[in-house]
C-alpha cells in the first residue's frame, strides 16, 4: 500500500502512470508496504492466466525473493524506476524514503532490487543513470544501497509512519521492525538477500501470509 499523501498521474504514453506526492514526506518514512490485499501469484498461476491478464501481471507485478509475482492491489504497481530513487527496500515488505521528498515529486524505486527478468533501458535522465538496468546491478550496487538504508534506521522510529498498521511482514522482517522501533541493534537484511535465484527454500516457508505486523 502506498503512503496516503500520494496521487496517481498519467505521465505520457511511453511511461504511463507515475505516483506523485501531495505533501512533504520526510526521510525515513515508509512510502510503500506489502499489505494483506497485495496478490502473491506463483509462476505456474501466472502462466495459467488468460494472455490479456498475464501481460498485465508481467507489466505491473514484481518478483519477490521466493520467485513469486507480487501484484499490488493499489497504485503501488505504478511506481516507476529511477537510478536516483526516492526510496529503497527495507527487507521484503517495505520501501523507505531515503531522503526528504517534496510535495509534487515523483515517488520512484530501484527496479534492480525487484528481480528483473529482462534488462530495460532507463530514461530517468539522472546524473548517475545506468542507462541499462538489470538484475546484475544488485551485485555491483547492493552494498551501497544497504548502507544508504542502514543510515536511515535512527530516523525511522522518529517520523510518522501512517503505513505501519498495514504491513504484512514475514518473521524476519517483523523482527527487524521490532528492533528498529525499540531502537535496538538490528541485523539489517541486505537487498542481495532477496534475489530470487539465491533465495533458500525455507525462507519461502517462513512467510506468515495474512499475518500483520503492528506498531506497539
Amino acid at each position: 500500500m502506498l503512503h496516503p499523501a500520494t496521487q496517481l498521474r498519467y505521465i505520457n504514453d511511453a511511461i504511463g502512470y507515475g505516483v506523485f506526492t501531495t505533501a512533504f514526506i520526510p526521510r525515513g518514512t515508509f512510502v510503500w508496504v506489502l499489505d494483506a490485499w497485495d496478490r502473491i501469484l506463483s509462476p505456474p498461476a501466472v502462466a495459467a492466466l488468460p494472455r490479456l491478464l498475464r501481460q498485465q501481471v508481467e507489466k505491473y507485478a514484481y518478483i519477490n525473493a521466493a520467485g513469486d509475482y507480487v501484484l499490488c492491489w493499489d497504485f503501488g504497481c505504478y511506481m516507476n524506476h529511477s537510478c536516483e530513487p526516492t526510496s529503497l527496500g527495507l527487507g521484503e515488505s517495505i520501501e523507505v524514503a531515503i531522503r526528504d521528498i517534496e510535495p509534487g515529486e515523483e515517488l520512484t524505486c530501484e527496479y534492480a532490487t525487484l528481480n528483473l527478468t529482462t534488462a530495460f533501458a532507463c530514461g530517468c535522465h539522472k546524473q548517475t543513470c545506468r542507462k541499462l538496468i538489470g538484475a546484475a546491478d544488485l551485485d555491483r550496487f547492493g552494498e551501497q544501497w544497504d548502507q544508504t538504508v542502514a543510515q536511515l534506521l535512527p530516523t525511522i522510529s522518529q517520523v510518522e509512519q501512517p503505513l505501519a498498521p498495514f504491513i504484512k511482514a514475514n518473521e524476519r522482517d517483523r523482527a527487524v521492525l521490532d528492533g528498529i522501533f525499540k531502537r535496538a541493534a538490528v541485523a539489517l537484511p541486505s537487498a542481495r538477500d532477496y534475489q530470487a535465484s539465491k533465495a533458500a527454500k525455507p525462507a519461502r516457508q517462513s512467510l506468515t501470509a495474512g499475518r500483520l505486523w503492528r506498531l506497539d
Binding site: W37, P50, L52, L71
Partner: protein, 202 residues
C-alpha cells in the same frame, strides 16, 4: 478488467479518481469484465481483516449478488456513480456501455444497484439532469429495471462490435445475460474479435 481504451484521472479530494475513455467507445462495447485477478471476500474474511481495512472495503469494493465484496484488481474499483450512468450490467459479470462514449467521457455506474446495503446511502453530486440527490438501496428495483431496458438495447450490439475484452468473457455468461434480459438468445455464432480471438456461443 477495464477496457484498454481507458485512463484513470484524479478529479478532486471528494470524488477521488474516475475512469475515462481515451478513445470513442460505442454503445454495446464491453467496458469491464470480472476476471480471476479480482478478489472476492466473504463477510467472514472481511471481519478477519485489521480494522484499518474497513474504510477501504467501503471505498473500493462492491457488493455482489451473492453477498460477497468484490475488489477489482485494476481501475474497475474506481468507477464512480452517476444517476445517468454510461455503463451497466455489473451483475452479469461484465459491463456494457449503454450509450456512445466520446473520448474523455467518464465511465460510470449507478451505485444504487450494486454497492449499497440497506443501511448505506450517500448524497450525489453527479449534476446530471436526472440526479436523484440521495442515493439509497430503496430505489434499486426501479433503477435496475430502467438499466435493464437500456441493456436490452445495448447488448445485441455487443455481438457486432470489436471487443478487446472478449478473451476474458465467458461465452456462457453472454448467453445467460441475453436470457436474463429476455432477449432472443443469439444463434450459435463465432465472433471474430479485434484481438483475433473468437467467442463461440454455446
Amino acid at each position: 478488467m477495464l477496457h484498454p481504451d481507458t485512463q484513470l484521472r484524479y478529479l478532486n479530494a471528494e470524488v477521488g479518481y474516475g475512469v475515462f475513455a481515451t478513445a470513442a467507445i460505442p454503445r454495446g462495447t464491453i467496458v469491464w469484465v470480472r476476471d480471476c485477478l479480482d478478489q472476492e471476500f466473504t463477510r467472514e474474511q472481511l471481519s478477519q481483516l485489521p480494522a484499518v481495512f474497513q474504510a477501504l472495503v467501503r471505498r473500493y469494493t462492491f457488493l455482489t449478488a451473492a453477498g460477497t465484496n468484490l475488489l477489482c484488481w485494476d481501475g474497475g474499483r474506481l468507477m464512480n456513480h452517476s444517476c445517468q450512468p454510461s455503463c451497466a450490467g455489473t451483475h452479469l459479470g461484465f459491463e456494457v456501455a449503454i450509450r456512445d462514449l466520446e473520448p474523455g467521457a467518464e465511465l460510470t455506474n449507478d451505485y444504487a444497484t450494486l454497492s449499497l446495503t440497506e443501511e448505506e446511502f450517500f448524497s450525489c453530486n453527479c449534476h446530471s439532469p436526472v440526479c436523484r440527490g440521495l442515493i439509497t438501496s430503496e430505489e434499486a428495483p426501479e433503477i435496475a429495471s430502467s438499466l435493464a431496458m437500456q441493456l436490452r438495447a445495448a447488448l445485441p450490439l455487443a455481438l457486432t462490435l470489436p471487443q478487446p475484452l472478449w478473451p476474458l468473457v465467458n461465452p456462457a455468461q453472454v448467453c445467460q445475460a441475453f436470457e436474463r434480459l429476455a432477449l432472443p438468445r443469439p444463434a450459435r455464432l463465432t465472433i471474430q474479435a479485434e484481438s483475433c480471438t473468437t467467442l463461440v456461443l454455446p
